[in-house]
Symmetry: D2
Subunit: 338 residues, 4 copies
Amino acid sequence: MKQVKIALLGIGRIGKIHFRNISQQFSNASVVAVSDPQYDEESFKKEFGSVFFSKDPEEAVAHAEVNAVLVCTPTSSHASLVEAVAKQGKHIFCEKPLDLSLERTASLVKIVKEANVKLMLGFNRRFDPDFMQAKKSVSEKRIGNVQIVKITSRDPGLPPIDYIKNSGGLFMDMAIHDFDMARYIMGKKVVEVFSKGLVLVDKDVAAEGDVDTALTTLIFEDGTYAVIDNSRKAAYGYDQRLEIFGDEGMIQVDNNLHHRNIISDAKGIHHALPLDFFMDRYAKSYLKEMELFIDALVKDKEMPVSGEDGLEATRIAFAAKTSMQEGRPVKLSRITSQ
Amino acid sequence: MKQVKIALLGIGRIGKIHFRNISQQFSNASVVAVSDPQYDEESFKKEFGSVFFSKDPEEAVAHAEVNAVLVCTPTSSHASLVEAVAKQGKHIFCEKPLDLSLERTASLVKIVKEANVKLMLGFNRRFDPDFMQAKKSVSEKRIGNVQIVKITSRDPGLPPIDYIKNSGGLFMDMAIHDFDMARYIMGKKVVEVFSKGLVLVDKDVAAEGDVDTALTTLIFEDGTYAVIDNSRKAAYGYDQRLEIFGDEGMIQVDNNLHHRNIISDAKGIHHALPLDFFMDRYAKSYLKEMELFIDALVKDKEMPVSGEDGLEATRIAFAAKTSMQEGRPVKLSRITSQ
Amino acid sequence: MKQVKIALLGIGRIGKIHFRNISQQFSNASVVAVSDPQYDEESFKKEFGSVFFSKDPEEAVAHAEVNAVLVCTPTSSHASLVEAVAKQGKHIFCEKPLDLSLERTASLVKIVKEANVKLMLGFNRRFDPDFMQAKKSVSEKRIGNVQIVKITSRDPGLPPIDYIKNSGGLFMDMAIHDFDMARYIMGKKVVEVFSKGLVLVDKDVAAEGDVDTALTTLIFEDGTYAVIDNSRKAAYGYDQRLEIFGDEGMIQVDNNLHHRNIISDAKGIHHALPLDFFMDRYAKSYLKEMELFIDALVKDKEMPVSGEDGLEATRIAFAAKTSMQEGRPVKLSRITSQ
Amino acid sequence: MKQVKIALLGIGRIGKIHFRNISQQFSNASVVAVSDPQYDEESFKKEFGSVFFSKDPEEAVAHAEVNAVLVCTPTSSHASLVEAVAKQGKHIFCEKPLDLSLERTASLVKIVKEANVKLMLGFNRRFDPDFMQAKKSVSEKRIGNVQIVKITSRDPGLPPIDYIKNSGGLFMDMAIHDFDMARYIMGKKVVEVFSKGLVLVDKDVAAEGDVDTALTTLIFEDGTYAVIDNSRKAAYGYDQRLEIFGDEGMIQVDNNLHHRNIISDAKGIHHALPLDFFMDRYAKSYLKEMELFIDALVKDKEMPVSGEDGLEATRIAFAAKTSMQEGRPVKLSRITSQ
């Protein structure tokens, strides 16, 4: 493939980021078709210009020039769209998760494989420059053999309860990024999961059968582990840190602050807060993941995040939920898709 | 009590610190008798001057002026000495742990109570100025209601295998400080313990039936938790950090570095390593705990660390070991001293 | 003006940045003509697409649609181009400096004024987000009345001697940014300049009659001062820091590091080096200055950096050189353009 | 000399620190005599125990056992006491400055030399562990050849005007420490001084003919320089920093904060303020300077700060004052003691 001609399905918050990044930054890729039920042709053209538009995603996918599709619609439509696109023989970038059901996720991975198309899952955090740097240092054995990964992942605030309701729960919606990060950094197989969860931010979350605070221990095949600390609300903003401990040292990845001014006054020495909106905090990772998606297509390489990666993270999320409910560790081998 | 007249039992590494601190820093306390089987009267006087000395601890305790006793002997003799001192009606400061046996620990707490003497356990880390500051901020609700405590506690290097053999194991010897720290910061009851442990530093540790790396989750009565990350060896030195997360903020306690010079050169920006010897790192906490012990005696106040605190930390250590062996969380209520 | 239609004169390193930023980021501005003697029409179109191109800047300026011109050519041609553009009645953005001669600089400011066009000087550092934040805090009296500004401004390495030869010297070429920064932060008139300079990096610099290391004290009208510390070579990279001291506190602006990974190993705790290429370090400031230039045209507002600002910085640079040569402080009033 | 037997003249704030340090920390030194006009024998013994006491310093110096004398009295009596002690053939530690007059200072240095006794000046900051570490790194060529030293030295608050009146002025009283520090770090001869000073903290300072804010440039014999930034009042406390720039790197010495807790909340990320009382900030340096004084006597070595060091710092202070008054740089060779 020389030029990646993209159909973008869904042009909401994330879809817009990809649209803008592709339009401005890549000479070997372009968006040639867009679908989104929230727009009609007139309102779309007014905002985004003269790209082919249809309310119907199938029409966008079917556009003759299109050879790759970005699925940026709500989660509930991911599965059917990914299946449809695969069957058209076009390559796929899909925002996480593929589906809230484990069975459906597994079957999609299989379908995509059989269709012989490439699939990349949008675990964008892997492509944050700071986290990539950490992974690079780990790969270069800069801290020897890695023994522990500690992930702090706290949101700046609770999403609307309506969002929570359809999210699949904290593990499936939020911690799944961290489960993927732990696998990415460690490069090992998770075999066991122990999770505790509770409601400390807002009682309405409990009414939805969900939690807003959780602690998860992942055990890898060699007995080493990851600890993931999640909260839906940190008073000081979006807290996204990593600490990796190896037998020759430690890597810490700090938060990304609003600015580098330090003010000293009679009350203390004050630094800026972390960037608190995920689209600012991860702006570079959205760009980088698209660069790598395009690059994998143009150079016919393996995708940097596969459907299997998505499936594994989903299995861990299910194990975490089960562990929390049962009050004990859960072997990942129990979580099967049949 | 106006003047605290102390018998010091055992003048090894820790005993010397207390001896020096008491001699130099307190006008209302003095060491009036010392016992240590490693010295004879001549060698003792040569090194420490003209204080009453006996190889026999009972003679030191029985010294007419003595009204308080510091037990700084090897762990195996703590129990019998504490019991003997209590029966003499003299107050006690004892290095941790009271005993490696839970039953004996429980009975000592009872004996001391019945003897109506005061007992302070040497959980010195509580008295580190940085950790005291953190506790103070928590008490003042500076970060609202505390939800999670994360403790990083890594030694600069493995102690000799002979030490490991008699230590009671990583949980009883090393993590017990962190179990106490978690209880101290949270001020709540621990109800459940989940521990994973493995050998990553030195295989000889496994031969002793011990681990050198561990991760422990403590669940408090209200569902909130602590995570404790232990290693017997951090390549960069003694790693003693704390992170406390509450609904209005976070407190982080950083390591105490060798100095505050920062060198920038062609390879990077370099800061000094953490203080790597526990007696340097916690020099101020040894002094502070003695100040508070003396103060509690002089003002007839409650001890800042009680025998019950020691018993609880010991129960948690037993639960941690059990959890690791059983591969599942253990309710603390299972760990009883009968 | 609704749409800013720009002629870009010179599409070297800086010109390319502006070309790309304008093309990608602004809906109310576009580059409609480009000139550069280094390209011919074919090579230009191949690299930059179908914009009007001429080797002759006058043709680009004269393009019917053009209402604003960016002067990004070598310094020696700034003056004649600015004058020509002003006489065409089109607005001007000019990279610093307007000219190496004080008289010519002063006359250009006058010419521009008489032509009644807007002129912005490219003191891009004012628009770095961290420095803008510092200026904002100063304006909000966050540290009370400002007493001292300390600027550290060290390049990652010496430019080629050929560059040095035509640069106008360290004060005119490099420190001039810092002179402008000091004026910008303080918002006061400089009345006296004392500079020391010497050659510590490369003796060839001395052969050109220039220095590579300098220290300048600026005295403001109220007796307060700025200190500027310049070096052409810092082993650890591009060092661009600011410290502002006021009667109610201090603002420090730290360097912008390559990443936020911290590695601790047996040798120390290591942070990344500062960004070492000026186009990376100041990427956001180039974008922001263009945004503000366009905004000032569209809304018919005052330019955020005026020709007078350029003239003042140039006068300070002359005073600095004179002070260094005479070995004593120089009143700025001595530096006149007649 | 095997045992240093000390007469302490003046037991005010500083005298008390030395008294306590010598009593507690050194086995080869003791205070055997004390004089202070503020005490009588009874009040002295009550507070300090059974050391020989006299209101008359000559009696303390003359005490048969005494072989070294600490001069910790007000500045106005330093000269006569140092002279008297030297004539008794006893060694001297004297708090800075020897005298406010340059002539008297020079003559004292001569007298001491002729008396063949050792003299150490109390430039205690040289012995701060962080600054010693910086000096060590410089000596080890860790940053190559040193080009610039930048010293920030700001007090937490203005002393009483009565103190100012008798202090000899900001340069002689406060900046003199920094002049010595610059010489110590650089290890080169100062040849020229340029100072600006003004009153920004309190107008009453102006009424005393003094300044409360100053900036000094020192030029060393090879053209390299130091910049010293002084203020009598920093809102955020005692600001004592150092930055040393060399051709292979930079050393920064940060402030010493009250504690290492970092609190993140909705308003920012907050660190503790610097230690704000000089006796806390420099506690270790007072101990270290005494250790080195005693060591130099016991081992018959050169003193780490000589009378000549005191004289040079005093000459620089005079040059700084002259420069400020004349509004131009002053060659140090102009400042002579005849």
